[in-house]
């Protein structure tokens, strides 16, 4: 590929990008001017028509897409490479963590996973008052928001109750920051109602934390899982090599019939995608040198054995409606649409399982499905397996029942986002009842924000409406994700999501 000098010039001289954003964009240009993969003519066609998207991972994979270090191990052993001793008090713990975060790469160049913060910090809280701890936490959270300039960054809490969990929620609530994302791992058998009501109350004020169905997520990788980036559920001490995604509606548009889609187009697309991901993984493991030279690997904070490839898909709603030739009252409403949706996912799962994922012993050599939540240019493609905005069922419970039928297919991540009527903050146990019910029937992940908040969840990551306005007025903005979020916010009418519990 010939390097596009004009693009580089425009990037370097942009008045709307920060220095860091320019640097990363130009690095991407350099990476992309190499050709490391072999694509058949048909594969090229599917990429060109955006049936398959590589999600900006770049042509020269020199680091895994998502890295989830074993932070618990780091807290016990420190790091030789970073000349950081294992922390012995709270200040040392916080500094050790933010030092390590600086050196955890990902597809965004920033850490996408910050660890189970409450579990890591709780042992260091004795001897400090609540006020002292909250002040330190707020300083660190502010630091993270201003230096990790990308909201695909995720800290975890729970499922156990702890002083740390409560203080983190208390510290976080008034800050209303886009970074980091928080998820609380929730298991009604482990997590007390009182803590969850605090978490829900917090989310109605600052759009964090989201809630993961711990029992369901644990099923994938045992207890050693983390929620990273937007809502990816991945093994800790490992992560994901790559995430490629299938844009289902574009494939459906090529289909002459449902049979043609299921028996010809889908198998072909799955084969091409799995081959492409296998090539990416092989490059990363065999050529990039990441797993030989990176200190995270050398010090046992990540292991090549614990990475996997994510097979993403998106736009199931439009895909089903196109195949059924309906515009409304299809996906999310009719029995026929529900059956077709399930059949498509079953078929996709079966097909993906027939392809070998290299260097993925944790998954038995298989790729795992992921409900990919969309790209900035997605138009007419609803995120993952969600119901399109404007077409949501009137009944909140019907909506959740629909999600429950599909969430089970996506061990590496799927989730629904709901704006909640503001008066629910006066009855948070009501929303907790709904979460319990939803998780009980198989919903994997939920996030809520107050209907009138400035800080909204776009497709999984957080962005402020006020920041988007600045970007749309051609001002520079601190977070990359403000730029990314602006387009889908408008094209998918995310501001018009149906408000629930009103």
């Amino acid at each position: 590929m010939i390097i596009d000098k004009q693009v580089i010039y425009d990037t370097a001289t942009s008045r709307e990008l920060t220095h860091e954003q320019k640097l990363m964009a130009m690095a991407k240009c350099a990476e992309n001017c190499l050709e490391n993969f072999t694509l058949s003519a048909r594969a090229e066609e599917l990429f060109a028509s955006e049936v398959i998207r590589d999600l900006y991972e770049g042509n020269t994979p020199y680091r895994p897409r998502y890295i989830l270090p074993d932070y618990d191990k780091f807290m016990k052993q420190g790091s030789k490479f970073l000349k950081t001793d294992a922390p012995t008090d709270l200040d040392e713990a916080l500094f050790a963590l933010i030092t390590l975060y600086r050196h955890v790469p990902s597809v965004t160049n920033f850490p996408v996973y910050l660890g189970n913060l409450d579990r890591m910090l709780d042992p260091f809280l004795d001897g400090h008052t609540d006020e002292e701890i909250i002040k330190k936490l707020r300083l660190v959270f502010t630091y993270l928001d201003r230096t990790i300039t990308d909201s695909f960054c995720h800290a975890n809490l729970g499922p156990e109750d702890s002083r740390a969990a409560r203080l983190i929620l208390e510290a976080e609530e008034p800050m209303i920051n886009a970074v980091p994302n928080f998820t609380i791992k929730y298991d009604p058998q482990i997590t007390p109602d009182e803590l969850m009501e605090k978490a829900i109350s917090c989310s109605l004020k600052c759009s964090n934390p989201a809630i993961a169905n711990h029992a369901m997520c644990e099923g994938s990788f045992g207890d050693a899982y983390g929620v990273a980036s937007c809502y990816n559920i991945l093994p800790t001490c490992g992560g994901a090599y790559t995430l490629t995604r299938l844009t289902m509606p574009k494939l459906a548009q090529m289909a002459s019939s449902v049979e043609n889609f299921m028996n010809e187009l889908l198998p072909e697309a799955v084969a091409i995608m799995c081959d492409y991901m296998a090539q990416r993984i092989k490059f990363m493991v065999e050529q990039s040198g990441f797993f030989e030279s990176n200190f995270l690997v050398k010090e046992g904070l990540i292991s090549a054995d614990r990475f996997l490839g994510m097979f993403g898909l998106t736009g199931l709603a439009e895909c089903v409606n196109i195949l059924l030739k309906v515009e409304h009252d299809g996906y999310g409403h009719s029995k026929e649409a529900e059956e077709l949706a399930t059949q498509i996912l079953e078929r996709t799962q079966t097909l993906v399982d027939t392809h070998h994922a290299p260097y993925s012993p944790l998954t038995g050599g298989k790729f795992l499905l992921h409900a990919q939540v969309g790209l900035d240019r997605d138009d007419g493609v609803t995120s993952g397996v969600r119901i399109p905005v404007g077409d949501e069922p009137c009944d909140f419970f019907d909506h959740l029942r629909h999600s429950a039928k599909l969430h089970g297919y996506f061990p590496t991540g799927v989730g629904d986002i709901f704006p909640i009527a503001t008066n629910v903050s006066q009855n948070t146990s009501a929303l907790l009842d709904v979460v319990k019910g939803a998780f009980g029937i198989g919903v994997r992940y939920l996030s809520f924000y107050a209907a009138d908040t400035d800080l909204v969840r776009i497709t999984g990551y957080l962005v402020k409406r006020s920041e988007m306005e600045k970007w749309e007025n051609h001002e520079a903005v601190l977070h990359n994700t403000t730029q990314l979020g602006s387009s889908p916010y408008h094209t998918a009418h995310l501001g018009d999501r149906k408000v629930r519990m009103g």
Binding site: N423, A430, L432, G437, I441
Partner: protein, 294 residues
Amino acid sequence: MKRVFVNAILPISTVDGPGARSTVFLQGCNVACAYCHNPETQRHCCHCGDCVTTCPSKALRLKDGKVVFNKALCIQCDQCLRTCTHRSTPKAQAMTVAEVFAEIMKNRTFIRGITVSGGECTLYPDFLKELFAQCEQVGLTTLLDSNGTVAFDKYPELLKVTTGVMLDVKAWDQTVWHNLLSQTDDIAWQKSIILQAEQFWRNLRSNLILLANQNKLAELRIVVMPDHVDASRIIAELAHHTEPSLRNIALKLIAFRPHNVPFPANTLPATSNQIMNNLFEQAKRQGFTNICIR
């Protein structure tokens, strides 16, 4: 099987008791409060047919002298409610206990209980008793909203299966009570309410004691509407009640809002924050321990 008219079943409500609850609104009330914010629940449809002519989606028609509602065609615009001059709705459905219970059970996994409201649901004590008994058997808590005008001591079996009553204390002074409850231009009905008003007032007083004694008072509610409700007096009288003490019962002070209320209340302003705060402070001073403003 006995049927009652059900105005609506909301699969989820967050304002009708703690936790997530389904709320059943029964049609029909025995009073006509000046501030009623759902006056379309007060009376039963008299089949005058006025609403049929104004329905934009043809969901209503007259058949054999009765208004028939086709839910499938309804676009929920509420034009029929605005057209109706009889404080009613053509959309209420006659349902059995089994049918209501089946609707509730569709969402069993998401709710911790049900609340029955209305209208005045205690006009149907047998229906309530049977419905609540079935709900209790599946672990659902049972709350009911009441204006307290029907004497609960006549229905001990109902109380056995009721987790709690959210009781309106609409007025304390008898004159205020009579005026507040009889705001309708249906003269015959107004006369009927006035004739029963004193008995209603006595029933409310005895219900307060009975429900408190049996630990069935989930909440006390006062709608604050200056010049129409003696809210300060109500609070003081409730606070001084000693057999038993009512001060630890949740007290909800609800600001009047002129939304969906009948004339002339719809011309009046919403109750100010200052008045609400003053009443809150009074309740606190007088010993209430659990007060909230809505």
